[in-house]
């Protein structure tokens, strides 16, 4: 709301003070005016003159008296200061402000004035807001408190609630840009966790109902400093008494061309044949043609032109949450284009893809890709004896295929030999669980005929009798080109997916999920939940295709979703090193080196990753099958790319649709509450000084 109205915080107090002070001043003025006595020849004419003047205008004396006028002016300014005029330029409630500052990748777009990045602009706005926060009034009323939360995918409290403006400013200034996609969920959860609770209320209450506490919990004002490019804004659910002010950053007309997909594949049959897929997105309305350059290990290798269609303006009516109900105009759908680089290269390499464009957002103009050496997959089958499985796997082009008993596998796990296997096929058993609460231990698993439990796993409700597949994800890499219709399952299982489960159903049977994919930071599994032996699937050709696709999918390490060799900004690097790795350090893209310690099972974690680029793990010791050796050190490159079509569509939103309301962006020029009593007091003082000066000038002869 631009140009807010001037209101008074304590008008009654000022009126009472005025009712006392103004007459007092006037009376004092008449009674207590110190006059100099001067003897004159006769008061005759003077008295007459005074009488005449008073007869003319009773208040002549008041009106013509500049001293009294000045005193009244000073008093008026002081009284106005007591009334505490304030200008509410944006709707705020309560005295607590939560500054949520988006530092996600899209905030790096330099479309502000003078090439200022959105984050810098937002920080400036935030500092302005902090400056305008109420420092408490003259009567010791509460100073406004603020907390600063910076968020990208994750959120961090940079500064807890305080009214110390210097610390708040410092906190805001300390926020650094990251290349992670934006997500407000965690930020809001943090803000809610910091909200003061009524005494006796358990602080761990995950979802305090907004209006239950409406009368008890003081309302607060959320200041969203973001460009609005947040996919999960509907998880932001302030109470109805809270205010939300959206401080938008960036220019709505900004367009961007960026890489949104990047993936390298080696041919299944010919591992030395590398295909690099690059997906490019254009948010400008007009079609664009850009040069895309591929560098292998930093050496330019190929340049291609790619034409990308312009963004399409969609029309239609969409239901959007909140009181506004229906919103007519939709965001234009960015144009997508892609190109493919093909080459033959059997060694491992770092591929860099660069889009030559001069748009405001540079983060997505470059992507890094770790192309592993050409190897075939090593697979271990852990089974107590399963003929059809062994037969089906034997036909696949694998590097090694070892068949282990569960006991042998356990021993291999303990002495680290199991690390040699890219994928482990578990027949009727579950992977060893290393951490409680986790469904799976670290590794890549194809599980057949077992149900991973635990809080991240599935709930097994027992046998379900005859069942069959009713639906499956036909576009998933594992189930692509498959038809599961002929499959009849003799003994199905009733499976439910728990609330916190990481399982994603790939194929549904009549009794529940039949095939699920489970992705955790450290493990990756495809689980067939029913016993394959009790079905006709092994006799169907789709079973072999499924096994091949699943092993290939689980083994895919290059590619955007390729497990430990690629990580998105905002995620944690978590990878397993060979046994006896020592002096482990991680070199980030800007050259900083971080020493890491390995867990007993050889795992290192670091993060979350803030910037996109190439991270390199270096250690002393054995190299893994896909690692390279460099000067006596083992080196494992890990690529970090934004590759987020949503984040790359950088045009800021003019309004944000929260769970319960739609908030329009507030005017940049005016925000917060401005209080003017300090200026008024200063003015009063100045007038008093002027009055003193005039007094001293006047009283001279």
């Amino acid at each position: 709301m631009p140009g807010g109205r001037m209101t008074f915080a304590t008008p009654m107090l000022a009126i009472i003070a005025a009712a006392i002070a103004v007459p007092a001043l006037v009376i004092l003025y008449f009674l207590k005016l110190r006059r100099r006595s001067v003897e004159i020849s006769s008061t005759l004419l003077w008295k007459k003159a005074i009488q005449d003047l008073q007869a003319n205008a009773p208040f002549q004396r008041l009106r013509k008296n500049i001293l009294l006028l000045l005193q009244l002016l000073a008093l008026a300014a002081a009284l106005l200061a007591v009334a505490q005029p304030e200008k509410k330029t944006a709707e705020t409630t309560g005295t607590r402000h939560v500054l949520l500052i988006d530092r996600s990748a899209s905030m790096a777009a330099r479309d502000g004035n003078g090439g200022l990045s959105r984050l810098d602009a937002a920080k400036k706005d935030a500092v302005k807001l902090i400056d305008s926060l109420d420092e408490g009034d003259i009567f010791g009323a509460d100073a406004h408190e603020a907390m600063v939360i910076a968020f990208d995918t994750t959120a961090r409290v940079v500064q807890g609630f305080t009214s110390d403006k210097a610390r708040l400013r410092e906190a805001v200034e300390s926020i650094e840009q990251t290349d992670a996609p934006g997500s407000i969920r965690e930020a809001f959860q943090l803000a809610r966790a910091h909200r003061p609770r009524p005494a006796g209320e358990p602080s761990g209450d995950p979802e305090p109902d907004a209006d239950v506490f409406a009368g008890i919990v003081p309302p607060q004002t959320f200041h969203l400093f973001t460009d609005g490019r947040l996919a999960d804004l509907d998880s932001f659910s302030p109470t109805s008494r809270d205010s939300v002010i959206y401080h938008t950053a960036g220019d709505p007309k900004t367009t961007n061309i960026g890489i949104v997909g990047l993936r390298a594949e080696r041919g299944y049959e010919q591992p030395e044949h590398v295909t690099v897929f690059v997906g490019v997105q254009n948010t400008a309305p007009e079609p664009r043609s850009v040069e895309v350059e591929l560098l292998i290990d930093g050496v330019p290798s190929a340049v291609r032109d790619v034409s990308i269609p312009g963004a399409e303006t969609r029309e239609g009516v969409v239901e959007s949450g909140g009181e506004n109900g229906v919103r007519a105009e939709l965001r234009p759908e960015p144009g997508r284009g892609g190109l493919v680089f093909e080459m033959d290269m059997s060694r491992g390499a770092i591929a860099t893809v660069r889009v030559h464009t001069d748009d405001a957002f540079a983060t997505d103009d470059e992507g890094v890709l770790v192309i592993p050496p050409a190897t075939k997959t090593s697979v271990a089958v852990v089974t107590s004896g399963n003929l059809y499985l062994a037969e089906a796997l034997a036909g696949l082009p694998l590097a090694t295929l070892d068949t282990l008993t569960p006991e042998e596998f356990k021993a291999a796990l303990e002495d680290g030999r199991a690390d040699r296997y890219d994928v482990v096929v578990l027949d009727g058993i579950l992977p060893p669980n290393t951490s409680p609460g986790r469904a799976l231990g670290p590794g890549r698993w194809l599980i057949l005929g077992a149900v991973p439990g635990g809080s991240e796993g599935l709930i097994d409700r027992g046998e379900a009798g005859m069942t069959r597949f009713v639906d499956w994800k036909r576009n998933h890499p594992v189930l692509r080109d498959l038809t599961l219709e002929p499959v009849r399952i003799g003994v199905g299982r009733r499976i439910e997916i728990g609330e916190n489960s990481v399982a994603v159903p790939l194929a549904e049977t009549t009794a529940g999920p039949g095939i699920v994919e489970m992705l955790t930071p450290e493990s990756r599994a495809i689980a067939v939940l029913f016993d394959v032996a009790e079905s006709n699937w092994p006799f169907d050709v789709s079973f072999v295709v499924f096994l091949a696709s699943a092993i290939d999918y689980l083994d895919t390490v290059s590619g955007a979703e390729g497990g430990a060799r690629s990580v998105r900004p905002g995620e944690v690097i978590s990878t397993r090193l060979p046994a006896r790795a020592s002096a482990v350090r991680l070199v980030s893209p800007d050259g900083d080196s971080h020493a890491l310690t390995t867990t007993p099972d050889g795992r290192v974690t670091w993060g979350p990753v803030r910037r996109a680029g190439l991270y390199t793990l270096r250690w002393r010791g054995d190299t893994g099958p896909l690692d390279v050796s460099d000067g006596g050190e083992a080196v494992r490159p890990i690529a970090s790319n934004l590759l987020d079509a949503f984040e790359s569509d950088i045009a800021p939103e003019s309004e944000v649709a929260l769970a319960s309301r739609i908030v329009s962006s507030s005017s940049r020029e005016s925000m917060g509450v401005r209080r003017y009593w300090r200026w008024l007091l200063l003015g009063s003082l100045l007038v008093m000084m002027l009055e003193w000066y005039v007094y001293n000038r006047k009283v001279r002869l």
Binding site: I40, S41, T43, K48, L701
Partner: protein, 338 residues
Amino acid sequence: MLRSTDPSRPASMDELLDSTLIAKISRLDLTSRKIFAGKLKGERRSKKRGESVEFADHRPYVSGDDLRHIDWNIFGRLDRLFLKLFLEEEDLSLHIVIDASESMDCGEPSKFLYAQRFAMALGYVGLVNLNRVAVTAVGGMVETGRSDASPAQAGLASASKDNDADTERREVSDSSLHTIRDLRGRRRTQDLARFLCSLRPAGATDFGDQARRLALARRGRGVMVVVSDFFMKEGYEDGLRLLVGRGYDLFAVQCLSPQEVEPDIGGDLRLVDVEDGDRAEVTISAPLLKKYRKNLAAYCDGLRNFCARREITALTVQTDTPVDVLLLDYLRRRGLVR
């Protein structure tokens, strides 16, 4: 307007009347629009037929007339006795009334000093032309302790030598009227100066009352010059009316200090009247000053109008006007001197 902080009191005649002024005014003589009867032979034409050389009229002889005045030529021609009448030349009485109230002791130059100088100069003109000169100070006091022969006493003494019956009443020093009278001749200028120098302004004037007493104590007609600021709370009208009613050829000389005409004070002031201690709290402002000036002009106009209706010659003079200008220009034009 303000009380003189360092009033310089003249101590001798030289301070009241310097030689250049004497040179300028020596040629002057007093005159009057009216013709009064004098007491002594003087240089002024009298209403009385007398013994001057100036022929006035003839009248038939009645028994008892002085035979010396019979016009023998007419008797020769007409054979009837006629007396030849001559104009009598008498002296002119000049009475200078000085307001010696405290309000006169204000201004720069002081109004009282100005009044003293003016009285001295005018008195000198009167004395050198053989007129009877009297000076009365209304209000104020006479400083007596300075020497054995105080100026007033000296004037009194010297005046008593060549004067007649009311010698002892010549110097009246009751509470507020100080008078030296019946001075005549150039020799008396020192007496006049001593009297004037002995005057000290003090107290307030009740001009009406004093004028009544003056009028009642009138000794012969003549010219009366009242020198005052005429700032009288009770009004000057009664007093002037009484004086003019007794047949004086009255001149009212209003002395105002330049500060009274153009006040140069400012600020929040408590104005205290030097005479009665009356207070007026004022905050000097442009409108107030404007009003004051308007009032002053109206006051002076009021005095002039009042005087004009009663054949009183009124004159307002600022104390920074030289005395010779006052005498040679203003008063000559108004017919007091010639």
